[in-house]
């Protein structure tokens, strides 16, 4: 493998790994904030138990999100210096804004929330988890706007003398439909993930007959979150697909393994292609559905891979403009499939829980245990699809991934860091997972000492509610 392949693997591993923790953080932060608000308003003790219990799980997860995020920001310069030079004038701005507006907000107020139980009046303490949660939301917005610019560059001009793209309109970059649709798709997906996480854990507690009062309430919260979020994810997913069809038709064609342009194009449920990927051998299709998904009409014309390849070769010069079709095709289907499965489990479980009974049968426990993982798989496949099917471009139409890699960094260096990072990620994943399981097993704690309102700063002689 050359340094390009290694750098791509490193980016993929770091990003997919980082994005395990991110959606849980975004969604669970808001759910915990909601639970704490419920406690603040009603003083019902099970809301406090839920806040602390899911807060603990949230923080075990958050630590991993933070530390992998640092690599995320630095690897552009380390492994992708040519890319960074090319896009820095545009791409750097949302990243810097993300740091200044979002990272400071989430890290500072989360620190206050974790250690502030006996250092702040209840109201301010509650406000701190909301502030941290909005920080994660802002963070998502800026990084998705930066990513959207890679999918569909706008508000720029090419400076050929300096060999780079230059910003001409920041508002276009921050408000283009690609960015807004992506935000509208990713944030509900984060709530979907968090809902499934809270629901799965709560259902497990219910099955084990532990803290039923709390678990019933949080299970309901989780399942409802999943169902509502799914609707939003589906609506914005549909919107994203249409935008994608106009902006990156090759991606849509790859997602469908649609080789030649068609009107009334079918949505393929299953396909087997020839080894060279240029022709499909066997497909099961739903007629007209792809045309509808992409254009809003069953008779709309959807461009095929081979036609687009010819078009791009004329437009950009000879070369291969076709992404890896199986990854795109299956990534797209796994994203939808795993999402649907979590929805299905949620509908059944919520129906039963609302009737004050738990589903019986051997399937229920494994289904609930799988709940937190299904959205994680859907998220990962979704991003693997959307990033992979943009290839060979790093920024669509402007710079290829192959031209973005750092010339000053040798393959040996990239290989070395790739191996060490991957090993470290693996070890930390095992530790994190172990702590999560243990924290779930330990279960919600009961509080013998009531939480009192204190003045800002608290009392220095009392034992601390929270210490590292």
């Amino acid at each position: 493998m050359n340094s390009l392949d290694l750098a791509r693997w490193q980016f993929a591993i770091t990003t997919v790994y980082h994005f395990i923790f991110v959606p849980i953080t975004i969604g669970t932060g808001f759910l915990v904030a909601g639970l704490q608000t419920a406690w603040y308003r009603t003083s019902k003790p099970h809301y406090l138990r839920a806040t602390k219990f899911f807060g603990k799980l949230f923080l075990i997860n958050f630590a991993m999100g933070v530390v992998t995020g640092i690599v995320q920001e630095f690897q552009f310069g380390m492994n992708w210096s040519s890319y960074s030079r090319f896009v820095g004038d545009i791409f750097g701005a949302p990243l810097a804004m993300e740091g200044l507006l979002a990272f400071f907000l989430e890290s500072t107020f989360l620190g206050i929330w974790i250690f502030g139980w006996d250092r702040l009046p209840k109201k301010l303490h509650l406000a701190s988890i909301w502030a941290a949660s909005f920080g994660t939301l802002f963070s998502a917005y800026f990084i998705l706007a930066a990513n959207a610019w890679m999918q569909h560059p706008v508000g720029y001009t090419m400076n050929t003398a300096r060999g780079r793209a230059e910003l001409t309109d920041i508002f276009k970059v921050l408000t283009q439909n690609t960015a807004l649709a992506s935000f509208g798709h990713t944030i509900p997906a984060a709530f979907f993930t968090a809902g499934a996480f809270v629901a799965g854990v709560s259902a497990y507690l219910l099955i084990k007959n532990r803290d039923v009062t709390m678990a019933r309430s949080t299970a309901r919260l989780g399942f409802i979150t999943v169902i509502v979020a799914f609707i939003l994810v589906a609506v914005t997913g549909d919107l994203t697909a249409r935008i994608m069809t106009t902006q990156q038709p090759m991606k849509m064609a790859a997602a469908e393994a649609l080789y030649s342009s068609e009107a009334n194009a079918p949505f393929s449920l299953f396909t087997i292609g020839t080894l060279d990927g240029s022709r499909s051998v066997f497909q099961i299709d739903l007629p007209g559905v792809l045309s509808f998904m992409s254009t809003g009409s069953t008779n709309g014309v959807v461009e095929g891979i081979n036609d687009l390849q010819n078009k791009y070769a004329q437009q950009f010069g000879a070369g291969d403009y076709t992404p890896n079709i199986p990854i795109a095709y299956w990534g797209f289907r796994f994203m939808i499939g795993f999402g649907f499965l979590a929805l299905l489990f949620s509908l059944i479980a919520l129906y039963r829980i609302n009737r004050n009974e738990l589903p019986k049968g051997k399937w229920f426990l494994p289904a609930m245990i799988s709940m937190p993982f299904l959205p994680l798989l859907a998220n990962s496949f979704g991003w693997i699809f959307t990033e992979n099917a943009r290839q060979p471009w790093a920024v669509f139409g402007l710079i290829k991934t192959a031209d973005g890699v750092s010339p000053a960094v040798g393959a040996g260096s990239v290989a070395f860091t790739l191996v060490v990072f991957t090993l470290l990620y693996g070890v930390l994943a095992i530790i994190e997972f172990g702590l999560m399981l243990r924290a779930i097993k330990v279960g919600p704690e009961t509080f013998d000492r009531p939480i009192e309102d204190v003045a800002v700063g608290g009392d220095s002689d009392r034992t601390l509610t929270m210490a590292y």
Partner: protein, 346 residues
């Protein structure tokens, strides 16, 4: 003032914030085992960092992001050129953050001892390497212009020259002292006493290293008279910090060690200006605030954003320190041997 100069100053300010804030985090991390003997003390020491370390680290992320936005050529050349040191720093920051969060979850002795070692080593590495990196930036590294692009042309061992290693010793000892001063200000009892005693011991070593390092720097940049004056302020502030510590005035001691750190960064950036990364090979292959920068439009956009947001950030981050202004002592830690995940709740 041009936007380019303004953003050069902004980047300097971000590094000042980072070195003052995460500087004491690194110091406290390295001193964990030296100042805290039992579990209650260890947890008290870590709790002084608990609410703030993550927010402190964001200064680095913003410095990185701001460099990317304002000086993309600097960001690209620096990060790809200083590849392995940055990798080691990242590795350390990953392990350290996780260690803080996970260390006291279990009471198990081996579990805690391992994370404690991780905290010490993962605080030591960046504390040393930031000095190495900055000294190299100021000194100049082999940069070459190829196809109009300025790239790092040296290897890993080019970065380990005596001047750079001395720079590493400076940040290492200065952060250790700064961390000890922070602990004397934020803890009570035996930890506070041990920390105060360490301030003088390590602080004098730091003083010698700093004077030697800044002495070499001022001689190398002897055409810039302001570098002399700034280096002098660093030395004086540092001595004031040590003196106030001896008198038991911990707040002033911390104030002056922070001022010393701020002026140390100002000294280096003044020596650097208008370059951002001088080439040791050819003057024409140096990166400066003009050839490394973004367009005026981008700098203008970022200036507006920075002018609006920075005061807000400073206010709420300052407020955090107000909320957690009380000293932490070992006796406030109930059941220090037990982790929250040790007991199964009924």
């Amino acid at each position: 003032m041009t936007f380019n100069t303004f953003w050069f100053i902004v980047i300097a300010v971000l590094w000042i914030g980072y070195f003052i804030l995460e500087g004491f985090d690194f110091g406290v991390g390295m001193l964990l085992k030296a100042v805290a003997k039992d579990q209650a003390e260890r947890r008290a020491v870590l709790t002084t960092l608990g609410p703030v370390w993550d927010g402190n680290e964001v200064w680095l992320l913003v410095a990185g992001g701001a460099t990317f936005a304002a000086f993309p050529e600097w960001y690209a050349t620096l990060f790809s050129g200083f590849y392995l040191p940055l990798f080691l720093i990242l590795l350390a920051l990953i392990v350290r953050g996780v260690a803080f969060e996970y260390r006291s979850k279990y009471g198990d002795k081996q579990w805690r001892a391992r994370w404690d070692n991780a905290i010490v080593v993962a605080s030591f590495l960046p504390a040393l390497l930031w000095g190495v990196a900055f000294a190299n930036i100021v000194r100049g590294v082999p940069l070459e212009k190829k196809n109009g692009v300025i790239e790092y042309a040296g290897g890993f061992f080019n970065l380990l020259n005596p001047y750079a290693l001395l720079g590493g010793v400076v940040t290492l000892t200065v952060f250790l002292t700064h961390g000890a001063i922070f602990l004397s200000l934020k803890t009570d009892g035996a930890i506070r006493e041990r920390a105060r005693a360490l301030v003088t011991k390590i602080g004098l070593v730091a003083a010698v290293a700093t004077v030697a390092f800044l002495g070499i720097t001022t001689v190398a940049f002897n055409d810039k008279h302001e570098v002399y004056a700034l280096a002098f302020i660093v030395a004086l502030s540092w001595l004031a910090a040590l003196q106030f510590n001896l008198k038991g005035r911990e707040g002033y001691s911390f104030l002056f060690s922070s001022i010393a750190l701020a002026f140390a960064v100002i000294t280096l950036f003044t020596a650097l200006y208008p370059n951002v990364m001088p080439s040791s090979l050819l003057e024409s292959a140096s990166l400066n605030i003009t050839n490394a920068s973004s367009t005026d439009y981008t700098l203008k956009v970022m200036t507006i954003v920075a002018l609006i947001l920075t005061p807000i950030v400073l206010i709420y981050q300052g407020w955090t320190y107000w909320v957690f202004r009380k000293r932490v002592s070992a006796k406030q830690i109930s059941t220090p041997e037990v982790g929250v995940l040790d007991r199964i709740n009924p």
